[in-house]
Subunit: 307 residues, 3 copies
C-alpha cells in the first residue's frame, strides 16, 4: 500500500504516469465516471481549508465514489483527546482512502504507520502540501508541454512559503531548469534550500528584488502572497509591497507565452485586471487540481480503467 506524504514519494516516471492519467481523465471524463463506485474518501481536516477539501471531494465524486469526514477539529474526536493514530484506525473501518490536513507537521506520517488505507497528506503545518505540487506540475506540463528547459520565476514570500519549497524540490529533478527568485531581502529563499537543494544539484538561479527585473526572461511566473506581518518594519513594507503586485503594466514586460500560476487564495498580489490575460493560468490550475487528484486516488487505490 502506498501513501502520498511528499511529492518526492513518486519517481519522475511515476509522476509522468499520474499526469498522463490526469490528462486522460481531462479528455475522457465519462470513462472514469464510475471508476470508484462503492469507494469512500474520508476528508479529515483538522484545520479548515475549503479549497483543498473541496478539490479532493470533487475528485472522488467525479470518479463515482462518495465522501465523508469533517472540516475542522472542533467537530472531531480530537477535541476528546484522541490520538491521530487511533483516529486513523477507526477511519480505516469507515473509508477506503483518506485525505488528511493537520496543523502539526508530521501528523499524516504518524497516521500512515497505523493506517490500513492509503493516506493523502493534504497539508501538514508549514511542512508539505504535495497535492498542490502535483497540481502545479500538471498545470505546467499541460500548458507549456514540458517540465524541463524552463526559466521559472518564484515571486513573493520565498522564506515561509511551503508551496514554493515543494515546487523547487519537484522541479530540480527535470533537465535544464533555471530559477529566478524574486523577493524582498527579508523573505529570501532560505540557505538550506539554496545550498542543499539548488547548489547541490547544480541548478542555476539568481535572486532579484523587483518583479519587473525578472519578467522579460521567464517561461512561467509562480506568484505567492507577501504578508505584511512578515516584514521587519512598516516602512520596508510600504516601500516594497508594489514590487510584488502583478498588474497589467508589469504583464506587458513578460513574454507572450509566459504562464502565471498562483496556489490561491490570492488577496491582492495579482490585480484582477490580469485575470482576463490569456497567460493567467491560476484558475485553470484549480481545474487541473481536480484532475490530478482523481489520478492520484485511482493510483493509490490501485484501480485501473480499461482503455
Amino acid at each position: 500500500m502506498r501513501h502520498l506524504m511528499s511529492p518526492l514519494d513518486f519517481s519522475v516516471e511515476e509522476l509522468d504516469e499520474i499526469m498522463d492519467l490526469a490528462n486522460d481523465i481531462e479528455a475522457n471524463p465519462k470513462k472514469y465516471a464510475h471508476a470508484c463506485e462503492g469507494k469512500k474518501l474520508a476528508t479529515l481536516f483538522y484545520e479548515p481549508s475549503t479549497r483543498t477539501r473541496l478539490s479532493h471531494e470533487a475528485a472522488m465524486l467525479n470518479l463515482g465514489g462518495s465522501v465523508l469526514g469533517f472540516s475542522s477539529a472542533d467537530s472531531s474526536s480530537a477535541s476528546k483527546g484522541e490520538s491521530v493514530s487511533d483516529t486513523i484506525q477507526m477511519i480505516s473501518c469507515y473509508a477506503d482512502i483518506c485525505a488528511m490536513r493537520h496543523p502539526k507537521e508530521g501528523a499524516p506520517m504518524v497516521a500512515c504507520e497505523h493506517s490500513s488505507i492509503p493516506i493523502i497528506n493534504a497539508g501538514d503545518g508549514g511542512h508539505q502540501h504535495p497535492t498542490q505540487t502535483l497540481t502545479d506540475l500538471l498545470t505546467i506540463r499541460s500548458m507549456k508541454g514540458r517540465l524541463d528547459n524552463l526559466v521559472i520565476g518564484l515571486c513573493g514570500d520565498l522564506k515561509f512559503g511551503r508551496t514554493v519549497h515543494s515546487l523547487i524540490h519537484a522541479l530540480v529533478r527535470y533537465e535544464n531548469v533555471k530559477f529566478v527568485l524574486i523577493s524582498p531581502e527579508e523573505l529570501r529563499l532560505p540557505s538550506y534550500m539554496r545550498e542543499d537543494v539548488l547548489d547541490k544539484k547544480h541548478v542555476p538561479y539568481k535572486e532579484v528584488v523587483r518583479l519587473e527585473d525578472a519578467l522579460p526572461e521567464l517561461d512561467l511566473l509562480y506568484m505567492t502572497r507577501v504578508q505584511k506581518e512578515r516584514f521587519f518594519n512598516e516602512e520596508d513594507y510600504v516601500r516594497m509591497k508594489d514590487f510584488y503586485i502583478l498588474d497589467k503594466k508589469k504583464m506587458a514586460l513578460a513574454p507572450d507565452d509566459m504562464l502565471v500560476l498562483h496556489p490561491l487564495p490570492r488577496v491582492n498580489e495579482i490585480s484582477t485586471e490580469v485575470d482576463s490575460d490569456p497567460r493567467a493560468a491560476y484558475f485553470k490550475q484549480a481545474q487541473y487540481g481536480v484532475y490530478v487528484r482523481e489520478a492520484l486516488i485511482l493510483t493509490l487505490l490501485g484501480i485501473q480503467v480499461d482503455q
Copy 2:
C-alpha cells in the same frame, strides 16, 4: 446560462413551467431519480441556514446528483480574505451548479458575473430569498389550485420580513389578487412597497392591526415572526404580541379552506395546537420546497427528462 437571483428573474410563464415540472416530480419521483447523475451541487453557505441548505441538498440527491460545500464562513477560504468572485471561479471547477447564501446583500450577484456555472441565490442578507418565494408559490398553486383570485393575509413583521416583500412582488403579477396587511404600526409594510408596488399595479389592499379582524375573509394567511426587539418599547410589545399568535381560537374565525403558510422556523407565532388543523400547510411547504428546487436545478442545468 441562467441564474436565480430574484423570483422576478422568471416570467409568469416560465414560473408556470417550473411549477408544472415540480408537480410532475412530486407525482413521479422515480422518473427523475437519475436526472442529475454525475452532476454536483456546491452549497456555499457563508452564514448557516440548515433548512435552506438541506432542502437544496435533498433536491440534488433526489435527482441522483451529489453535493459538496461548506455550511459556515468559518470553514471557508473567506476567512483567508478570498473574494466571492475568486471563490466562485474556483467552485466553477468543482461543481456544475451552486447555491449561495451570504450575509451581504448582492454577493450572489457579484458571483454571477464571474461564474461559469448557474448560481442560485439562497438568501443574501435582508435582500432576496427567491427559492423561498418559489416554494410559497408552488405551495399555494398546488393546494389552492390557482395563484389568481386570492385574498392573501400577510401577518407579522411586514417591515423587515424579506420573504413577505418577495412574495408580494411575485403575487402582484397575477390577476385579481388582494392583500390584507396585518401588523403593528411599527412593523407596517414600508411605503416603497405600498406605493411603488401595490398602488402602482393597482392591487387593492387594506391594513389591519389585529389578526382576528382579518381572518374571516382570507383565502390564505402567511404568518411571520414578530421579534420583540423590533418594537419601540416593551409596553407595546406586551400589549400587542398576542394579536399575532395564531391559535385554535383564532383559527375558528377563518374559512374552512383557508391555508396557513409560514416560511419557518417558527418560534411561537403559531401555536402547536394548530399543527393538526388540515388548513395548516407550513410543513407541506417544506416538502414543496424540495420539489421546486429539484425543478429549478433541472431548469438551470438545462436537463430535460423524457416523458
Copy 3:
C-alpha cells in the same frame, strides 16, 4: 414505523435477526451495495461526535444511499430557536431515516412523536447510546460465538458511563451471564443498577477495586475511561489511576481467549502496547459498528435483500 431509542426496543429474537443480518453484510458486502439506492440518511448532530456520525454515514453509503445533515448545533436552525419537533417534521420532508444526537436527555424521543421517518437515537446526553450497545453485542457475539455463558469484566467509571449501563441492560437478557465490576469506590455502579437490574434478575456479580484481581477469570473485559475530575481528591486519583490502565503486564494475567473491548475514544486507559495483542478487539469493534448500523438502517426502513 419503528425507531431505535433504547437497545431494549428490540427483543432478544429481533436483535438476533439484526446481528445475523450484520454478519451477512460482513460476509457479502456487494449483495447490499445498492440496497438503499435513492434513500437519504439525515445526521442531525446537535453535539459533535465524529465517530458516531461517520459510522452512520459509512453504513448508509455502504448500502448505496446518500447522506445529508449537520455536525453541530451552531450550523442548525436550533440556534434560531426552532424546537426539535419542528426540525424533525422538516427533516421528514428531506430524508428517509434520521440519526439524531442531542445533549438533552429525551430529545430523540420527542422527535419520534412528530416524525414520519424512523429515528435512530445516536446518543442523548448521559441517557442512552443504543447503537453503541448493538455494536458491543455484535462484536461479542461475532468474536466469542455467543452472548450467554460469559464472565464479563466492566472496568473504569461505572457510575457515569452510559455505555456500561446500556450494556448491562442488554446482557442480563441472556442466560448465565456474570459480571465483575472493576472500579474505584467513587465510581461504583449505582445502586439503581445493582439492585433494580442485577439483583432483580438474579444476575451474579462481584465488585473489585483492582483490575489485576479480576483479569484471570474473565471472558471479556470492557474498558472505559476514568476521568480525573470524577475523583473526590487528587490523592485518590494518583493512588488508583494505574489500577485502571490496561498494559502488557496486566494482559499476561488474562486468559488466552479473553477479549478487550472499549467504546473509544480512549485516552490512556489502554496502553498502545496492547493494540497488537490478538485479544484487543476495540478497533474491530469500530468495524462491527458499521455492519450493525447497516443492518439497523435496513431493518428500520423495512428493506429486505434477496438471498
